[in-house]
Symmetry: C2
Subunit: 206 residues, 2 copies
DNA sequence: CGATATACGCTACGACTCGTAGCGAAAGAG
DNA sequence: CTCTTTCGCTACGAGTCGTAGCGTATATCG
């Protein structure tokens, strides 16, 4: 379904233009931010006319959402064999994602817009937040099968544990990368993981 | 120093206008977001002329920074007699403040703009982030006098501890309230405090 | 009291951006 | 060849930022 049955008659769209425009949007977003980004500038960077942008996306907001969504389709998670390694991998992944200036500006601009647009907020949560939560769930499950963490006594506690761990990891990394503005060095990741490991078993046990 | 010795001659500024303008800014920011907020609209809401805004703040950015900073000055650190109670109280305060839509939109819009504007980023850190560290400092001092935490072995370690604690608390609460969009229930606050208390003494001890 | 100095509201302005409309030309389908 | 769609280009109306000028209101100083 949703077969992209493009128009069968007429001049076809430039297939390369979409990627070039979205890349130019992310580039401009990194340099100028949401407010400083202009459609004319994006068009010039992509080497197309401004009217071409509006022919493919109805507004500046929609264009930026599409540009960020395309960027966030790369997220994955690996089982590294130990709880510490998995946590450090998750933290490093967050940090790497947030170290790109274009992602910083794009994500925060999206979050800001989402605070007053419930539809956009829902889309951000489903496309960005929940997938990251699955990383925590997978890591916990792997640690439990390895015997590093006790099995969940009940489903409710497990869900709460996932939420609190995710909020702490994501929140702290985001705060450090975006607010403090300091990079997540290997030393910092290791120290934060140590800090996180101490109470983890307690919470997991319930 | 920095005695705000205002001009001694000439018509004095309307003392009520500052508060009205900042309140109008937060209100407009909640309804329209950063991009939708206009200086003319803020002036109309506050019942002043647009030129009055520019007479008191040099730009839209600075006005929003001041509006958000004023909002966050409401936070206070209460001495409730135990470290756990103090932490839970300040987390609850912070969460309650961030549950207001106007604060959500304001903070996120500000952070988003700050990712591209180093000067604005610096202003945000100085006017909003750094002043809130006083809560951590006060809470730690109270806990130390009560004997719940050891005294600082050296100033450098104490400063690092304050930074880490603040980053974790602020980052986690902000993330949960603004990004995940879930309320900070009493259960969540209690669980997060437990998570925070375990490594706290280690860090404080150095 | 008058002179001085500042804040105020109002209007207008230049520069810039959004998003749209119209034009001729290009590129494919039937 | 004809029809349809996309393309780049130019121009436009509406709206915003931040500034300047003007007359007026309200304070301090001599």
């Amino acid at each position: 379904m949703t077969a992209p049955s493009g128009p069968r008659k007429g001049r076809p769209r430039n297939a390369d233009a979409d990627g070039a425009i979205l890349a130019a949007t992310r580039e401009a977003l990194a340099e100028l931010g949401w407010g400083g980004l202009t459609m004319g500038d994006v068009a010039a960077r992509a080497g197309v006319a401004k009217t071409t942008l509006y022919r493919r996306w109805p507004s500046k907001n929609e264009l930026v959402v599409a540009a960020v969504a395309e960027q966030l389709d790369e997220l994955e998670m690996a089982d590294l064999g130990s709880l510490r390694a998995d946590i450090e991998a998750v933290v490093a992944q967050f940090a790497a994602l947030l170290s790109a200036p274009e992602t910083q500006a794009a994500l925060l601009a999206l979050f800001a817009e989402a605070t007053r647009d419930p539809l956009l907020r829902k889309r951000v949560r489903e496309s960005i937040i929940e997938p990251q939560k699955r990383l925590v769930i997978a890591g916990r499950a792997a640690a439990q099968t390895r015997g590093e963490l006790p099995m969940d006594s009940c489903e409710e506690m497990a869900s709460a544990a996932v939420d609190i761990i995710f909020d702490t990891v994501a929140g702290t990394v985001v705060h450090r990368m975006l607010v403090s503005g300091e990079p997540a060095t290997a030393e910092w990741i290791s120290a934060f993981t140590t800090l996180l490991l101490a109470p983890l078993t307690e919470i997991a046990a319930g």
